[in-house]
Assembly symmetry: C2
Homo-oligomer: 770 residues x 2
């Protein structure tokens, strides 16, 4: 753990006291978003200290020209970057002409920041003494509407405490923004028009190259002691900036407040000539409801989300706060409303990594969205990849594959590859398998087979073709091998026969063949369409089988474990426990070659395969592999602890499972990896959800039924979660004594508890001894 | 072969006819240099077509900030770049106010370019018809003085043919130059002062960051029909530029000429406040000698070089031209006068690769310089590394090694690492072995042991320490292994147990121990000094031995060959002959992952080890390994064909040896790798020399004697080369019938011919049947 300043609280993230060295971390932790846009918790007023300003619009990106030291054939020319968007939250504040700036004022007292996750708002309050000795009290509250997802609202109030004062609010829009993360310091935005009308202002701008047209807008109203007043503002208009200025002389103790609505309209949803019109329309709705009406709507919208997605934990406030923070941030990032969007690894909280879509979506996020939303949300995420199939085929083509083989990119925004490290871009090909696995997982969970004949099978065929071509025959081993790959454990590069990759490749081919047969038998029209489109022949299928049936898997007889890759046993097998702690985290202390030749594992690799294909292995095998690999695992990927927590729980190692759970759920809150200032780890948050539901709850799908093997860490009194399973809502309550099931609706549900069949009747609480 | 426009000629490189698409290639091929400076064969007059302007000063570099896509711990912050220096060769020419520009003029006729290697000058002649319809004849000659190595001379003559004309010469200095190769478009030069006096002009400038102070200077004189005339020039002076302008009205047929002397004075040799003074002094010497006097001196200086370094080949003009081009370029690049300098892979002919020093120096260049110069030149090259030992220890430290372990950089200018690809920078560690091998090779050849107690042993100890620490123990193999390396064959990255690296590591340790014992026995004072300085203990020596005695070498029983690395046999072993030619060169056609998993070898790897440690293996073993690996070798490194030529000759495969010889000797002339426009492959040219002397001549050192096994390709009538062996000069003449030895001096020499002892008497030609 690297920091410990967030107050434990069941429903809120709370910071007390002002510390300039924490500003960037808190800007990440207190980020707000609504799926359509999001922003770091930057201050509304001027702040001249170290800060990372960021406001982002879903789906608005920029193809930054690739920067590498040494070019390799096949690298993408451009890298889609998450793009910092015009700032609409800014409100400059001056008191007797002195600018309020917490970095330069004389004193800051009673600073308190709260991110209320239950109701979905961010607040901040403090007392500041300015250089002119005037002390003021500031209270600010801000949220981004979930329902009207193009608008956000700010209430910002200043009260002079020790003296009368003249106070000026200057709400503004600023399109002169740049990215923290840029390769060539390109200009990203082209401002088209700055306009205003009454108390509303608009900046129309388009992104360079991608030409996403947007309108950033605002509208303001000031209040004295809670009463709206009319002040005719001064207006300052520049090429990429517009500010209104409201000044007022106040007595000590009088409250001067401003309510500002702002946000973005994007041409993904409107004709680009109608953006100002649409902005006025959404501002009209916001004005009608007012700040308090919008807030009420916000509280209700979040209540609806929590009703379905909440996980309660009793008796352990830090664990409770952790899981809610994870669920909250996932819902701030992606709500499943738009299949053109996906779940960026940093959501709207930072720019690092660029791109929006990694294998994280398929491997970690889909289970969460599948269980806590309507199943269409998961289907949208699958369709996102179907829509990128042609690009994945082009991508494979660039790397020398033919005949419709598809390699999905490591990182993408629009289906094109966005990454440029050869050992990742060209070699971390297991990502392709996760995309096939997600199709399997979706069908297993939802029982909705229709997706496969409609769309999924084409994806499975492209992926199977890739694996068949990528595997090569070793006459020495008399087996098919997969050479030169990087597995999920990115602390190994360009290895041969990564067990996880080989296993996944074999599975993908087998699963594709199985579904071709099923579609042929049950959806013949689709079958003919797909066979025609893909020109798939029986002889090609035979070549797939040949590879799948003769795949090589590295294995150690001595240890009776599958080897992570060829040659793993040649390493100096010193466990993490025996490693000098001063050397950690190794990715910040060691040169890359040293990391590579060490046995240390960044994230679950063989165990990731045991997680995906659990039924193929016995518990004894899992235990053996867990005992072999976990001692070498440094968990320096955010995606590692969750899988280990699930596996540890399965092995009844509850202390270990609990430790991993805390690490995954409080990764950012406690800043384990010393990087929270760059943004949050959004996608791994879905892994936290899995570690409770699948880990402690033991939820699986068996024989097309939900199955549970409930366990509970000794630190907890009880926990509960809710599941949408095939349109039935089931609540699961686990305590040390018993597990209760509560089923909504009218139909009963059969399920397995510790492998015993139970029938749960609706609206009855079924108790099962724990 | 990619191009075929250079005329075959025994002593000159000749181009006839003007083709704009060849300009950049010819700028490389006709480059001139004198060890202290060098320049691409850019035109003196304006040329607006595609050109790569380059003029370079030895030892003047710039630390360009590293640019990578993804930073790794241990990367150097800066990358020393060969730096484009101010241009002093420029002479703008105008005819009746029209600028002469071969790219835009109406017609170019009789264009001829000659690089006369025998005498060391570059000439160019052509007729051009300008847009104003005036036809002119131009003759230009240029050289960089070998003796006065700070100055160069140009004679440039224009004759109007079809009309009277007013002709203006504008000789200039231009410090407003940039690099082709730059990461951030930094400004590299800071101009301090532009000054002039009489017909001399000076630009004082310093490089940014490194603060190398230089003075670029020029002096001009014009002539009509060969007679010096006085024209009072107009002078144009700008911040970083100065031009003189000489105009003259000429009758048709009158010759208007300019002689320009120019060059650089650098503060490596002078106090930085005295640079203009030193410039005047060198210009004074040049003026005294005049163009023709300087040229005479140049011819003599090259005659001296050729007397010692020439290799003659009879009956094969292309082979003759090839070897002379190689010897000429090596001597243009490095003459061994200054131990602070080294041999850059592109010499003064381009900027690619940056840095100046690679393992090429030790592995390929030292034998050439050792045999064709005074042995102090080779000793200087060794001392260069001794002087960088502390930096090599720092470099190893950065990568986690301790206790005085030294890792020499992959690329360097001042001892610091200049490269930033993890698979090379951190993993291509075999370079360390070549540096130790060069010490061994120097002693073997010169019998000068003194270098080892004085300096070499410290280097050997630092290197042995590195290998001992870098090897790790595999309990699985019960051997020491070296994991995660890149061998000489850079088409494999991050492999385990590269045979060449492991072999070299073992040898380095053994050789260091052997020399510690010898120094202890024979140079006790040095021994005590070195032991004190390095704190080397007996127990540490034992740990070295433990590693060396238990080193693992990958081996295939089936094929009875050492394996290039672990897992080599898992590849799809399709030979180059069976590879679709449309796929070649693979480094331009394939993505990196495909190259890596292929069996294709960029340059000799196992065979490089057989070359270095020839006596450790039988001829049968060599044959077996040659037959196993050569069929997979694509020779896409310039350093590959020479070693193969030597090995093929040893195996009596003269056709193959000859093919490899042509490829190495005419690599640039025929542009095999389609990249000559970027500059020449200087260091591999020393390999060409080896392929004749060690390959066909079979020269070795055996029992402290020269040994030859002369062979001759059937395409040749005969060939000869000269060797400085321990201060005796021996000329070797090989024909199909006999081998003649000619010894200079007064003492006889014992040598082996086909393993028979011969005594060669001085000044007698000894015939030995061939």
């Amino acid at each position: 753990m690297n920091q410990d300043y967030i107050k434990p609280d069941n429903w809120s993230i709370i910071e007390e006291g002002f510390d300039t060295s924490r500003v960037k971390s808190s800007e990440s932790l207190f980020s707000i978003g609504n799926g359509a846009m999001g922003q770091r918790a930057n201050f509304e007023e001027t702040y001249s200290g170290p800060t990372f300003q960021g406001s982002y619009i879903a789906g608005v990106y920029y193809p930054d020209k690739t920067r590498v030291g040494w070019w390799k054939n096949g690298y993408p020319e451009y890298f889609a970057k998450v793009l910092n968007a015009p700032n609409w939250i800014g409100i400059n504040v001056s008191i007797n002409n002195e600018t309020l700036d917490l970095f330069t004022c004389k004193a800051v007292k009673d600073f308190r920041r709260e991110l209320n996750m239950k109701e979905g708002w961010l607040s901040r309050s403090f007392k500041a003494t300015l250089q002119n000795n005037i002390e003021i009290q500031v209270k600010a509250k801000r949220f981004l509407c979930l329902e009207l997802d193009e608008v956000g609202a700010i209430h910002y109030e200043v009260t002079p405490i020790n003296s009368d004062a003249s106070i000026t609010f200057k709400p503004y829009l600023d399109a002169g923004i740049t990215n923290e993360d840029t390769n060539w310091d390109d200009k990203f935005w082209d401002v088209l028009k700055v306009s205003n009308e009454g108390n509303q202002a608009f900046i129309e701008a388009k992104t360079m190259k991608t030409e996403f047209h947007t309108c950033t807008f605002m509208q303001s109203q000031v209040f004295v002691n809670g009463n709206a007043i009319n002040i005719s503002p001064d207006i300052l208009k520049k090429d990429n900036f517009i500010a209104y200025s409201y000044s007022k002389n106040l007595k000590a103790g009088e409250r001067f407040a401003i309510e500002k609505f702002g946000g973005y309209i994007v041409d993904r949803n409107y004709d680009k000539t109608k953006l100002v019109e649409a902005s006025k329309s959404v501002l009209g709705k916001a004005e009608t409801l007012g700040f308090s009406g919008l807030l009420k709507m916000q509280v209700q919208a979040w209540a609806n989300i929590w009703d379905m997605a909440d996980i309660t934990i009793h008796g352990d406030v830090k664990a409770q706060q952790g899981i809610r923070f994870n669920i909250f941030q996932l819902n701030q990032t992606y709500l499943g409303k738009d299949s053109r969007l996906n779940i960026g690894p940093k959501g709207f909280t930072g720019e690092k990594y660029g791109g929006s879509t990694y294998w994280d979506t398929e491997a970690y996020c889909i289970p969460f969205y599948m269980a806590t939303k309507n199943q269409n949300v998961a289907r949208s995420l699958l369709e996102y990849r179907y829509n990128h199939l042609e690009r994945a085929i082009e991508n494979a083509n660039k790397l020398g594959f033919t005949n419709g083989a598809a390699l999905y990119p490591m990182v993408t925004m629009n289906g094109e590859e966005c990454h440029n490290e050869w050992e990742i871009t060209f070699e971390e090909i297991h990502r392709n398998g996760a995309i096939a696995f997600a199709i399997y997982n979706y069908y297993r969970y939802t029982n909705d087979y229709s997706y496969i004949p409609e769309k999924g099978l084409e994806v499975l065929i492209g992926i199977a073709r890739f694996w068949q071509q990528r595997a090569t025959f070793s006459t020495d081993k008399n087996k098919y091998v997969i050479l030169g790959v990087t597995g999920p454990n990115e602390y190994e590069n360009n290895v041969n026969n990564n067990w996880y990759t080989n296993y996944l490749a074999k599975w993908c081919i087998k699963y594709a063949i199985e579904n071709i047969k099923k579609v042929e038998a049950e959806y013949y029209t689709d079958f003919i369409r797909i066979m025609t489109k893909t020109s798939l022949s029986e002889s090609e299928l035979n070549s797939w089988k040949e590879v799948a049936d003769n795949m090589y898997f590295p294995y150690s007889e001595k240890h009776d474990v599958y080897l992570q890759q060829d040659g793993f046993l040649d390493k100096e097998l010193v466990t993490v426990a025996d490693l000098d702690q001063a050397q950690r985290p190794i990715n910040q202390k060691w040169s890359w070659d040293r990391i590579l030749r060490s046995p240390y594992i960044k994230q679950a690799d063989v165990l990731q395969g045991f997680y995906f294909f659990e039924d193929d292995f016995s518990k004894e095998q899992l235990e053996k592999h867990f005992d072999f690999y976990e001692p070498f695992t440094v968990h320096e990927s955010s995606l590692s602890p969750c899988v280990h927590s699930i596996q540890a729980a399965k092995l009844d190692r509850m202390e270990q499972a609990y430790t991993f759970y805390l690490r995954t759920s409080r990764l950012d809150l406690d800043d384990y990896n010393k990087e929270v200032h760059e943004g949050l780890h959004i996608t791994s948050m879905a892994g936290t959800w899995m570690s409770i539901v699948e880990g402690f709850g033991g939820m699986r799908i068996k024989n097309s039924m939900l199955s549970f093997t409930p366990k509970i860490p000794k630190q907890w009194e009880g926990y509960s979660f809710k599941i949408n399973f095939r349109n039935q809502i089931l609540k699961v309550n686990v305590s040390h004594d018993e597990t209760k099931f509560e089923l909504e609706g009218n139909e009963s549900m059969e399920l397995l508890v510790d492998d015993n069949l139970q029938v749960i009747e609706p609206n009855n609480i079924e108790n099962v001894s724990g």
